[in-house]
């Protein structure tokens, strides 16, 4: 019985160029001279360094821990010494520097102690945290932390688990080679996913231009203790896009702005399943991945490479640089970006290094005006109107681009590929997206500033009021003390009475006292006294006059 397949709209058939790198088996890249591990390898918050310069680290030791919810850990790819924790040119279209941990390998490649996880007897949330700490993130390109996707959430189950072996982009063959050589391990990873999501069915979608991978996966599936359906899908770019593959396999469409779990489907790249197998069944963190090195090189091949390997060292494995090399692309020709330099380290997202030459990738012809032919709309696999998005993005009318669902654009490049006027359409969409993100960030900052400013105004006002109230209270207390109208009159009256009584007593005492030597005086003494009294009276009268004058 063959499964009924569905079609998504649009899509293109670019030249595949896949055979170049599939003639050789996966090579193991030798230990590089130096390893530069970026702390920002996944979507979300960068990891936080937890080692110090000069510290000895073992292979697989966590050197950066997850910070925030959307984040995963990063690990030392080999044993050695941390020589720097500093900014280094990043594998990013900007070529700007980003925080990286540099490790000088000691050559011993000594592992840290690690063991398989007993995932069937583990609390699900503990298991997910373990996967976060083992650095597992989606290797299909978006590098979204896998532990978040492996949470079945409120629904308790995700009925359909899809392993994405589509690998639709030209030149890239890392998933193809992984499926050919390590099919059983991929399905061992799928078993863990199936267990965590309580899925009923497991589908592996592989494009029909990879017959060897299909055969290998089918052979492995027949040995599996749970049902796995390996589905051959027609080769049509971007058939390996998560939403497109879900449509092809199940006929379900992921709603605009929604996630695949909204329609009961979880999609993982085959590379992620392999990494999950290494993590759960061996306890190994994500420290290496398969990378295709192809294009204008002598021996195009896939390599298993340690994360953090400088890209220049990786490219050298395919032979000496050719004279006509014109540049390097990380990713494929449709969705990848030009590297400003090869002095950047490999990250978890690096699936392919494409070496360019003018013969293989001639510069695009000059862009001509849009003639509104709508061939882009016919090619768009996300059912958008690329010509309208282009007009609005060009006019910087970002509100309109959002109305036309700019954020459903997966930047696959089909529109630019078919455009007869050679307009770099995706560049306009990327520009509009980053402007909108920046504006949203600014708006958040403005809202925060407004809130803080208003709170400050409120605080100042409150403090003023409090101060005024305090002063008023003090003033009234003083006033009350000064005024005779004291609140407790009774006490006051008692006080007054006491004072009055004391005065009376003093007066009585004074009156009671009489001079003792005024009796039985001789007449001459009496006369002397009278004279003195008369003199005193005179003086008193004089003093009184002086005062009155």
């Amino acid at each position: 019985m063959t499964r009924q397949l569905y079609e998504f709209n649009g899509g293109v058939h670019p030249e595949e160029h896949k055979h170049a790198s599939t003639s050789r088996p996966i090579g193991i890249a030798p230990l590089p001279r130096i390893l530069i591990v970026s702390l920002r390898q996944h979507i979300g918050q960068p990891a936080k360094p937890i080692v110090a310069v000069g510290e000895q680290v073992l292979k697989g030791q966590m050197i950066g821990q997850a910070e925030g919810y959307v984040s995963v850990a990063v690990h030392a790819p080999t044993s050695g010494t941390v020589t720097a924790i500093a900014g280094h040119a990043a594998a990013h279209p900007s070529g700007l520097t980003d925080l990286c941990i540099t490790i000088a390998p000691d050559g011993a490649d000594r592992w840290i102690e690690h063991s398989a996880l007993d995932y069937r007897n583990m609390d699900p949330s503990h298991l997910r945290n373990q996967l976060r700490d083992l650095g597992i993130a989606g290797l299909g390109g978006a590098v979204f932390p896998s532990f978040i996707k492996l949470n079945p959430g409120a629904t308790q189950k995700v009925p359909t688990l899809v392993l994405n072996g589509g690998e639709c982009e030209p030149w890239i063959t890392c998933d193809d080679m992984l499926m050919r050589e390590r099919a059983a391990e991929i399905l061992a990873g799928a078993a863990v996913m199936r267990y965590m999501l309580h899925s009923d069915e497991v589908l592996v979608g592989i494009e029909d231009n990879k017959p060897e991978a299909i055969a290998a996966m089918q052979a492995a599936a027949s040995q599996c203790d749970f049902p796995v359906e390996v589905v051959t899908v027609p080769t049509l770019y971007p058939g390996g896009g998560a939403k497109q593959l879900i449509k092809t396999l199940t006929g379900k469409e992921v709603p605009s702005g929604g996630r695949s779990t909204d329609v009961g489907v979880a999609t993982f790249n085959v590379g992620t399943a392999y990494a999950l197998h290494r993590a759960v069944n061996h306890g190994e963190p994500l420290i290496s991945r398969i990378v295709t090195v192809t294009g204008n090189v002598h021996r195009p091949q896939n390599f298993e490479v340690l994360i953090g390997t400088p890209l220049a060292e990786l490219v050298r494995l395919t032979g000496a640089t050719r004279d006509d090399t014109s540049g390097y692309v990380m990713g494929g020709p449709m969705m990848g970006f030009d590297l400003i330099s090869t002095d950047v380290p490999m990250v978890k997202a690096t699936n392919c290094i494409l070496v360019k030459s003018l013969a293989l990738f001639p510069p695009p012809p000059p862009a001509m005006p849009c003639i509104r032919c709508t061939r882009c709309a016919q090619a768009c696999p996300a059912d958008l109107q690329p010509q309208e998005l282009y007009w609005f993005a060009r006019a910087k009318n970002f509100g309109k681009t959002q109305e036309y669902h700019l954020f459903d654009c997966i930047e696959c490049g089909c529109c630019s590929y078919v455009c007869p006027s050679h307009i770099p359409l995706v560049q306009y969409y990327r520009y509009a997206k980053s402007e909108i993100w920046a504006k949203e960030k600014d708006k958040k900052a403005a809202d925060l500033a407004r809130e803080r400013h208003e709170f400050r105004q409120l605080r100042i006002e409150r403090e003023q009021q409090e101060r005024a109230a305090k002063l008023a209270l003090k003033a009234s207390a003083k006033l009350a003390e000064a005024s005779p109208e004291s609140p407790d009159d009774a006490a006051n009256a008692a006080k007054k009475a006491a004072i009055q009584a004391a005065l009376e007593r003093a007066k009585e005492k004074k009156e009671g006292v009489t001079p003792r030597n005024i009796e039985n005086l001789p007449p001459e003494k009496l006369q002397e006294i009278a004279e003195i009294e008369a003199r005193r009276a005179k003086i008193r009268a004089m003093a009184k006059d002086a005062v009155e004058k």
Binding site: T97, P363, A367, P424, R430, S434, A449, H453, R456
Partner: protein
């Protein structure tokens, strides 16, 4: 007939009260466009007072340098008036910056703390002060009060997280 008129009138009156639409007052709408730097370059003590002045017709829409041309366009569109270029009297737009305190020079006088409109400076009397960079709006109001000139404005450098895709430059002719 008149009974019907009275009934309909009452119904309309009731509906007007019951289903009253709470319009976002124009001051709030203007304030939402302003960048909330609270720098006072417009001549008003903050963004809200400037918004109120615009709403009352006491201020022009081109007095906000941090808002830039973009902000003026938005205000013109909201208020239905002509766009005017930024009034140079109020200053020039500058790259976004944050204040940085040279902590070896700071004497802990708290004057900058009192000047900061968004409480983005942390410190206490005779203790070293520091700026909470995430909260700083780059208004420069802390620079003037500092008696030892230890505050400087540092433009925010572009990094991988804030980098933006550039507007495509389309070559007209193949070189």
């Amino acid at each position: 007939m008149s009974g019907l008129a009275v009934f309909l009138g009452a119904a309309l009156g009731f509906a007007a009260v019951r289903f009253k639409v709470q319009e976002d007052p124009i001051v709030e709408q203007i304030d939402a466009i302003l960048p909330q730097t609270q720098c006072g370059q417009c001549g008003f003590p903050g963004c809200k007072p400037y918004a109120t002045a615009i709403a009352n017709g006491d201020a022009e829409i081109n007095q906000c340098p941090p808002g830039g041309e973009d902000g003026i366009h938005k205000l013109a569109e909201l208020l239905g008036v002509e766009f005017k270029p930024l009034n140079a009297e109020h200053g020039e737009p500058k790259p976004k910056s944050v204040a940085v305190i040279d902590e070896t020079t700071c004497i802990g006088c708290t004057l900058c703390i009192q000047a900061c409109p968004v409480d983005a400076i942390l410190g206490a009397a005779k203790q070293m002060h520091t700026i909470i960079a995430q909260e700083c709006t780059g208004c420069e109001l802390c620079i003037a009060p500092c008696p030892v000139d230890c505050i400087s404005m540092v433009p925010i450098a572009e990094d991988v997280a804030t980098w933006k895709w550039k507007y495509p430059v389309v070559k007209l002719k193949v070189a």
